[in-house]
């Protein structure tokens, strides 16, 4: 039981990172039908920026806010300069473009920071643990889960209740009508990229705490989180969040219970397991949990 709880909490912590990444991906896809294959690079940018700011003496929480805002602004800039002119082009073209943008960002980040490993600073003891229900949970995990929960609630309120949220959903629902009503669709796209960028940055900060290092490969997280997006359904923010948490939990449970059964072959089984789950899942629900909720009266 204790092992299970321990795995569950670690899984939720990892899952909160997947959820943030997956949510950003969905926010962009929903508003502008762009598969953002540069998403992992925003995670990377967030992680490196945060480390530099904190090392430069900025108070941790302020550094986090600056990191999120700056990364978001970079996202907005990418949308405005690269993707806005591509509106109406085939999905395939925008995919290639975002892959290219990602590669460029990687090069730029490596140029600025060098690809070397470094630790993510935390204001708490980053090896510290606390007991929850008898399970020993890292402070890092608790912080990741709490911060993600707060941000997700904020996102929910923004998306469901606010003026810009209604504008975003209206734009996703029918772009031409949204334009016709005077909703500045271009600004909605920009705002979506801003949100996605800052969510990715937050994910990067917490991701940097788990192996407790940040290196040039951290962007690969986006590929790992991708099953969460497909399981949740490409256009559903709620699906992305549920998919993200589920993915993290399933992955850690697999690591804890399935890997040992497989002997040496099993060492890294948990890393492919999410893909196995995803493929199995998509066989039964090809549009994911909350895909195709096309509302239509029959």
């Amino acid at each position: 039981m204790q092992t299970f709880l321990q795995l569950l909490f670690s899984g939720l912590a990892l899952g909160s990172i997947y959820a943030l990444v997956a949510l950003g991906f969905v926010v962009i896809y929903r508003s502008s039908q762009v598969f953002n294959f540069a998403h992992g690079e925003f995670v990377m940018l967030g992680a490196f920026l945060m480390i530099s700011l904190v090392r430069g003496g900025v108070w941790w929480i302020v550094a986090l806010l600056i990191t999120m805002v700056v990364t978001g602004a970079v996202g907005m800039g990418v949308e405005r300069s690269v993707l806005r002119p591509m509106i109406g082009r085939p999905v395939f073209v925008t995919v290639i473009v975002t892959i290219f943008v990602g590669a460029l960002m990687r090069v730029a980040i490596n140029l600025i920071w060098g690809g070397t490993e470094r630790g993510m600073p935390t204001p708490w003891d980053n090896t510290g643990v606390m007991e929850i229900l008898g399970a020993r949970v890292l402070f890092n995990s608790v912080a990741a889960i709490v911060a993600t929960a707060v941000v997700l609630i904020g996102f929910y309120l923004l998306f469901q209740r606010s003026r810009i949220g209604v504008g975003m959903r209206a734009t996703a629902s029918d772009q031409e009508v949204a334009l016709g009503l005077g909703i500045p669709v271009g600004r909605v796209f920009g705002f979506s990229w801003f949100l996605a960028g800052s969510l990715a940055a937050l994910a990067g900060v917490f991701l940097g705490m788990f192996p407790r290092i940040v290196d040039g490969n951290i962007w690969l997280i986006a590929l790992v989180a991708f099953p969460a997006v497909l399981i949740g359904g490409l256009e559903s923010p709620l699906g992305a969040v549920i998919g993200g948490f589920a993915l993290g939990v399933v992955q850690l449970l697999a690591q804890g219970y399935v890997n040992p059964l497989l002997g040496t072959f099993g060492n890294n089984f948990h890393q492919v397991f999410p893909y196995v789950v995803m493929i199995g899942f998509l066989m039964f629900k090809p549009y994911g949990l909350f895909g195709t909720h096309e509302v239509e009266r029959v």
Binding site: V166, G167, S173, A178, L179, G180, L181, G182, V295, R297
Partner: protein, 261 residues
């Protein structure tokens, strides 16, 4: 007043769809645009509200003005702010938003405190919408969706409504209801540019009518005059028609007959 002179619109740089349209709409009038499929009615509305761009269409000639200021700029939201709202063909409500969210999206250009009152005003005008304010709009009936589309446009507080075939696909009783709504709005001082294929309803409520064919105005006049016009009757009102293909041909045929006799 809305005025358009010699408007030409081209899609995809090559397809000429409007070939020199001129029109005038006085404030507070209902003006009907009649024409068969593909005549260019929707295109005319898109040109006014700045929605040609996303269809890869361009205004290649002509001028337009509304309240003395030029039309055909690139920003649809600027037009909405100037008081022109567009109710699109086939209703096009946001199906996965609630009724109330649909209405709020219609007020996106506004930031004043009157939005709440205007919501209530719409619910008063359309009680069914009030009863269903928290329902997902996609589950409303066709008639209710049309009302929602009108109410959503009204949330921008327009001075003029452009309505694209609002009676399309509605049962006769609902057609009457929509016509009544248009009359009521007009009585409150709102100008209406009404695009319709249902000519008899449109000419009943309109002050003035234009007949559009393949991108040209082929005839226009006061609505009561058009209602009595033999050619219009024959082709658009389905009175005594004998299957001729379009208004211009009828006209041409008559002219020839007159010459011959």
């Amino acid at each position: 007043m809305l005025e358009i002179n010699n408007l030409e619109v081209v899609y995809n740089k090559v397809i000429l769809v409007l070939r020199g349209i001129s029109l005038t709409i006085e404030d507070g009038q209902i003006v009907a645009f009649l024409g068969s499929n593909g005549a260019g009615k929707t295109t005319l509305l898109r040109a006014i509200t700045g929605l040609l761009d996303i269809h890869n269409g361009d205004v290649t000639k002509g001028t337009g003005s509304y309240d003395g200021k030029p039309l055909f700029g690139p920003d649809p939201d600027a037009i909405v702010r100037r008081g022109i709202s567009h109710v699109m063909e086939r209703r096009r409500i946001f199906a996965d938003l609630t009724v109330e969210e649909n209405l709020r999206s219609g007020a996106f250009t506004r930031r004043d405190a009157g939005i709440k009152d205007d919501l209530e005003a719409q619910y008063e005008r359309f009680p069914v919408l009030g009863e269903r304010r928290n329902r997902t709009a996609g589950y409303l009936s066709g008639g209710e969706q049309q009302m929602l589309a009108v109410a959503r446009a009204m949330m921008a507080r327009p001075k003029m409504l452009l309505m694209d075939e609002p009676t399309l696909g509605l049962a006769p009783r609902l057609v009457e209801e929509v016509a009544q709504v248009i009359k009521d709005l007009n009585a409150e001082g709102i100008g209406v540019l009404l695009v319709e294929q249902n000519a008899s309803v449109a000419l009943q409520i309109a002050d003035h009518g234009y007949i559009l064919e393949t991108g040209k105005v082929v005839h226009d006049g006061p609505a009561e005059q058009l209602r009595e016009d033999e050619d219009v009757k024959e082709f658009y009102l389905g009175v005594g028609g004998d299957g001729r293909r379009n208004y211009r041909e009828v006209k041409h045929y008559r002219r020839r007959k007159r010459w011959l006799s």
